[in-house]
């Protein structure tokens, strides 16, 4: 049973949502401000954090930033519908996905399940533990560890999933639609920039190839391609 921490300053909303998630089979705890949220999230008792951006005191971004210093706990950000920039900032700070508010609780549950699948390594990609090696990058599907030139990388579960799909298809272009379905576990939506953001942070973490070439290339009009050396 997955344990979820729900952080939102609207207590009425949180109570109802907790109940809804409980009915869907999750164990739910909630927090209504940034400090409490951070303390609870760091406790290690949770599998996933649903984090609203607008919080009194320490806002959602601050919580995420501080959390990411020491934890890879999967995070789903709830952003205001009209603040596109929020989703970008959230993903840059290492959120696994985002959902604009107000949202349909069914969609929320679907997103939570997709993230948990990725984090638990139970995705459709998962069969027997194996090691993918492309150039100097090694990805161990059993332990979900990634080594780049022998150096271990710290990736969020979503970044890991995106990299895994790209490495499996290394040398070939993967369309955004396919990447979204295989790595994020959901259909690509309109104006969705989360894939671009995840790829962008992957590029930063991986660095360029020895020759200065980009590891993950943008294939115009299609999607992304991992460069096979």
């Amino acid at each position: 049973m997955s344990r979820i921490l729900l952080v939102d300053d609207d207590t009425e909303q949180t109570d109802m949502l907790s109940q809804y998630l409980a009915n869907e089979g999750f164990t739910v705890d909630s927090a209504h401000d940034g400090e409490t949220a951070l303390a609870k999230a760091r406790s290690g008792r949770f599998d996933l954090l649903v984090l609203d951006v607008m919080l009194p005191g320490k806002n959602g971004f601050d919580v995420l930033r501080e959390l990411r210093l020491q934890s890879l706990l999967p995070v789903l950000m709830l952003t205001a519908r009209d603040e596109d920039i929020d989703s970008v900032v959230g993903l840059e700070l290492g959120a696994d996905d985002y959902l604009p508010k107000p949202c349909n609780p069914r969609v929320l549950v679907a997103r939570i399940r997709a993230i948990l699948r990725r984090a638990g390594g139970n995705g459709p990609e998962h069969k027997a533990p194996q090691t993918l090696t492309v150039g100097d990058v090694e990805l161990h599907t059993g332990t979900r560890n990634v080594l780049c030139a022998g150096r271990p990388l710290t990736l969020t579960s979503t970044e890991y999933s995106v990299l895994e799909v790209l490495l499996r298809e290394a040398g070939q272009a993967v369309s955004k639609t396919e990447l979204s379905e295989r790595a994020l576990g959901r259909k690509l939506t309109r104006y969705d920039r989360s894939l671009d953001m995840h790829v962008s942070s992957l590029r930063k973490k991986l660095g360029a190839l020895a020759g200065g070439e980009e590891r993950i290339k943008t294939v115009r009009g299609i999607g992304y391609q991992y460069t096979r050396p």
């Binding site: 909303q13 109802m16 205001a80 519908r81 107000p102």
Partner: protein, 456 residues
């Protein structure tokens, strides 16, 4: 000058005074000149001079030269002269005035005799021995003749033209220049720039026009305040509506869990309406943000051709389900600096609107071209095969919640915000969007985006 009233009053007054003065001056000058001539010689002596002149002409150029000279002289001088032959007929065939006829008759009745020294006769003799007598009609010097001689009136007329012209030019310019600025400001304001003001451009002017400009600015200021507070209200209300809506959606989810499949139709309906409400609030917030200018524009190179292709193929996918198509008829490589997401949502809104109106079984046609007039710009057209829009509605098409028809729009699910959002987004990119009815039917929406670097 403080007041336009005094400016106009004094300008006309001074112009009239100057004109009157100039007229008086030239008239008196002319009269003095004439008097000096009179003092220098008697009228008779001056007539004698004319005779000598005429005699010279007659000997040199004959009768034709004499006629020419007489016509010339008559045009110049107010005093009418006649050259009368022995039969009493004028050289130019003019009827003789009564006073001249009388004089001729009187001389005939009293023929001159030896007791009086014969006055030298004013006679011109032609080479063929014909004789003409020069007669002056002193009663013929009328005001009409004086005024009709340009030499007398030329100076006052020139002065009137110059002085009047200069004064009127300065007056007209000082009146129309600020009015032109006022008109331009009003046009800019009407075009949507609510920060347009006039008074600062009028400098230290303090007359009625400056008052008008200040009144305009005051009105503009008030309108801007009202508009922005209204926009803020729309934004705030939409914002506040989201929390209850979010709770409503969760409550709905809970109800679904609890009923386990019973009452699904009603719950589906509630969910649909909640989604609609959510969409509407989202659109209202987008519009409020675009209008308040706080939208964060992420400027980056945007491949317009690729973006349009994406919009076309996405819309086509959805349109097929409704027996309609979206096709991209022509395209050119085009890259602009802008916010891809905003541009995409703008084009998407326009294409969706076109799809809503295009007839069943027809297609919406998109094209991307480069145009050179009036400036270098990318031109995207979105043409549908629908009923078009009444001409009077065309300029209102991009206002929020403007509907062309009623029932049909509601049934097709539009909120009347799509085109308004599109226009604001295009304007943020220094572009313009317009619409026109095609003669063969259907509406074409035209999006123009400036080519930033024409050499690319």
């Amino acid at each position: 000058m403080r007041s336009l009233f005094w400016k106009m009053f004094l300008s006309f007054w001074v112009a009239l005074l100057l004109f009157a003065g100039a007229t008086l001056f030239t008239t008196s000058h002319y009269l003095e000149h004439a008097q000096r001539q009179n003092e220098a010689s008697s009228p008779r002596e001056r007539l004698m001079q004319s005779v000598i002149e005429a005699q010279l002409i007659a000997e040199r150029d004959g009768v034709d030269g004499l006629k020419q000279w007489l016509r010339e002289r008559d045009r110049r001088e107010p005093l009418p002269l006649f050259l009368v032959d022995s039969d009493g007929a004028d050289l130019l065939g003019r009827p003789l005035p009564a006073s001249v006829n009388e004089r001729l008759a009187r001389e005939e009745r009293t023929p001159r005799q030896g007791r009086v020294a014969p006055r030298p006769r004013l006679i011109i003799r032609l080479p063929d021995q014909r004789e003409y007598r020069l007669l002056a009609d002193f009663h013929g010097v009328t005001l009409g003749r004086v005024l009709a001689r340009p030499r007398v009136l030329a100076l006052p007329l020139i002065l009137a033209t110059l002085i009047g012209g200069l004064v009127c030019f300065l007056l007209a310019r000082s009146l129309t220049a600020p009015l032109g600025r006022l008109r331009r400001a009003a046009e800019i304001y009407a075009a949507g720039d609510l920060s347009a003001r006039v008074a600062p451009s009028l400098g230290g002017r303090r007359d009625e026009i400056a008052d008008l400009a200040r009144a305009f600015d005051h009105m503009a200021q008030r309108l801007q305040e009202i508009m922005s507070s209204q926009r803020r209200l729309v934004g705030d209300v939409s914002h506040e509506l989201r929390s209850p809506l979010a709770r409503l959606q969760v409550a709905l989810g809970l109800a679904r869990q609890r009923t386990e499949g019973r009452g699904t139709a009603e719950l589906d309906r509630i969910e649909l309406e909640a989604e609609r409400l959510s969409d509407l609030i989202g659109q209202l917030l987008s519009l409020a943000k675009l209008e308040s200018g706080v939208t964060t524009v992420a400027i980056q190179p945007v491949d317009l051709a690729e973006l349009l292709e994406g919009v076309a193929s996405d819309a086509d996918f959805e349109a097929r389900a409704h027996n309609r198509r979206v096709t991209l008829s022509s395209s050119v490589p085009a890259v602009i600096e802008g916010d891809a997401r905003l541009l995409q949502s703008a084009l998407d809104n326009i294409v969706r609107n076109a799809l809503r109106y295009t007839a069943d079984g027809t297609s919406v046609t998109l094209s991307l071209t480069r145009e050179h007039a009036p400036t270098e710009h990318w031109c995207i057209t979105i043409h549908d095969h629908g009923p078009g829009v009444p001409e009077a509605m065309l300029p209102l098409l991009f206002e929020p919640f403007v509907r062309v028809g009623d029932a049909r729009d509601r049934a097709s699910g539009g909120y009347g915000l799509g085109l308004a959002i599109a226009q604001r987004a295009i304007r943020l990119h220094a572009g313009e969007v317009s619409a026109r009815n095609e003669p063969e039917g259907g509406l074409t929406v035209i999006v123009r985006l400036p080519v930033i670097n024409p050499t690319v």
